[in-house]
């Protein structure tokens, strides 16, 4: 096992949930909605995906459940921020609070009294000519080879994508051009939510095979940072995810070296947040937020 291929393999593995989350969040934000429900949506995807897989014995049904929960979470954000036009950040935080609370509640109901941690046989990795760096979960291949190109193509090359970008930049103009702002924003939130749910399910259905409390551990917030880091471009966001996952994979291995064992790894974990905040400070007023970011739309 060579060090390099091991790090490369771990990088793509660690980046997978971030890629789903970042692409999902990009869709929401390009439509003008900051979806802070992402942390809770990934959490719910991880939990309900596991719950369904564990009770039915089918990993695929687990994936379907995670997507369904993500769709539901996106629709909930839609009701709040599109139909009611509430504060997006408060709505997102409330959604996260609710989804995490609900998942932990059901978790307690379902698994209380059981002595052992419930586990499932997770998805295995796909063997490609025995090359270690290519031995990845199917969900990782789907993320990089299907979701990313498809999401980019839809957003940049189709009418739907154009509409999403239009309602996020200038909803008045989009409305005047006959695009339903509400319907388009709902759609973006639902697509985004589905991807976030999948990202969460990656942990329980592929990487770990079990559910533990606090499993998302702030990765939803990392995705929020990555979207801004990528300046609302899918490609750059994915690059950011790979960068973060690569540094993370590297530090896990370097920590084993005696000379570096005293460097607190929390410093590295804090890196993506700090980098984004510094980047925001440096670009200042030049950060090109989507034009209708944080703004509800109502016809005058």
């Amino acid at each position: 096992m060579s060090f390099l291929s091991d790090v490369i393999a771990a990088t793509f593995r660690n980046a997978t949930p971030l890629v789903y989350g970042t692409v999902g969040e990009t869709y929401c934000e390009r439509a003008g909605i900051l979806n802070l429900g992402i942390e809770g949506t990934m959490y719910a995807g991880a939990f309900y995906g596991f719950l369904v897989a564990e009770t039915t014995g089918s990993l695929l049904l687990g994936l379907v459940a995670a997507i369904a929960v993500g769709v539901g979470a996106g629709a909930l954000m839609g009701v709040l921020t599109v139909s009611f036009g509430t504060n997006q950040h408060v709505a997102g935080l409330g959604t996260t609070l609710f989804l995490i609370g609900a998942a932990e509640f059901v978790n307690r109901l379902q698994y209380r009294g059981s002595q052992e941690q419930a586990t499932i046989d997770p998805f295995g990795t796909i063997d490609v000519f025995g090359i270690e760096a290519l031995s990845q979960y199917a969900l990782t291949y789907v993320a990089f080879l299907v979701v990313v190109p498809l999401a980019w193509w839809v957003l940049m090359r189709t009418t739907l994508g154009l509409n999403i970008r239009a309602v996020g930049e200038n909803p008045e103009a989009a409305d005047a051009a006959g695009v339903s702002v509400a319907r388009t924003r709902y759609l973006a939130l639902i697509i985004g939510g589905a991807l976030m749910g999948l990202g969460g399910a990656f942990f329980t259905l592929a990487a770990l095979g079990s559910f533990t409390l606090g499993i998302i551990a702030g990765r939803g917030w990392v995705c929020i940072a990555l979207v801004i880091f990528g300046r609302w471009r899918i490609g750059r966001g994915v690059l950011g995810a790979l960068l973060f996952a690569g540094v993370y994979a590297l530090q896990l291995r370097l920590r084993l070296l005696p000379a570096l064992s005293d460097v607190p790894f929390e410093l590295l974990l804090a890196l993506p947040y700090v980098v984004v905040i510094v980047a925001l400070a440096v670009s200042g007023r030049n950060v090109s937020y989507p034009g209708a970011y944080l703004k509800p739309y109502r016809r005058a």
Binding site: L36, G85, N87, G101, F105, A270, G284, L294
Partner: protein, 359 residues
Amino acid sequence: MIGVRLEARAAPARWFDLAVAPIAIAVTFVLTMGFVLAAGASPLEAYDTFIVEPLTSRYTGLEVLVAATPLLFTGAAVAIAFRAGYWNIGAEGQLLVGAIAAAWAGTVVEDLPRVLAIATMAGLGALGGAVWALGPALMRVYLGVDEVVTTLLLNPVALLIVTGLLNGPWRNPETHFPESERISANAEFPQILSDSRVHLGFVLALAIIVAAWFVLARTATGLRLRAIGLSPEGARFAGIGVERLLLQAALVSGAIAGVAGASEVAGISYQLTDGISSGFGYTGIVVATLGGLTMPGVVIAALFLGDLVVGADSAGFELGVPSQLADIVKGVLLLVLIALLVFRHYRVSLRRAQGRGRS
């Protein structure tokens, strides 16, 4: 086809401000009933255990005050910032940095008289919180960077600093647990009632809230603060120094959240642990919103949520309803509230939809 439309009200409805919180609570209970039923309990019994029972004994009644203490601080902190139109959602991080500062202070003040030691704890907590709030505030005021994202992203950073300290330099050398050294006895907030955990922090929180109420409701500064929250451009036109005031509101908000951290360290745990805050900063947003961003409202809302937290713990034992129901109720309550608040400025009208019938 009949369409549902939201129409702007000429003026906010007065009756609404008083009615919205009780209505939201009632709606929340209806919406969360399914979880109680799923746990095999009767909703009425569960809400009785949740809300009423904690108030029926001295011990649990005082525990409500203990649970409400950090929420009084964070609720006030969030309310002050939100009033000024500064969306500080970083109270969680500010609280944690305040807790770090206080945990450090608690280990170096052993030679000071008790009053000074306690004042140092609270002061450094406030300083820590304000320092953590400073960056996003400066970026908002001078660089025009939206504070929602920056204040939010600093929360996980603060938590990582806490765990980094506890797993590294501050790890307890004897037990090897991730807990900091115990603060010296003279730095502890004294209990203010016998046989209870209610401590000085509760009084401190109320004092801060009274002071904040006075400033907000009775001084020109309070009026200006509200003015910049309602319309920064209008306030600027009226000659108000918007930047300076915004900066002040953000720092005061951070400082109060920081004192919450100091209060938990000095009054409850006597050391820094990674569980020092169970989401108090985020719950502060619920408290501030439920309290209508007013100080009397914050007090009532914090006591209500404290009641809920204490009740949730006993409901877990007595009825087999997992205590996470409190988190569900918090989240749903916040969502129902902000949805209802739309009707403060809009009213629903049913009318024949015109044109394409879309909204």
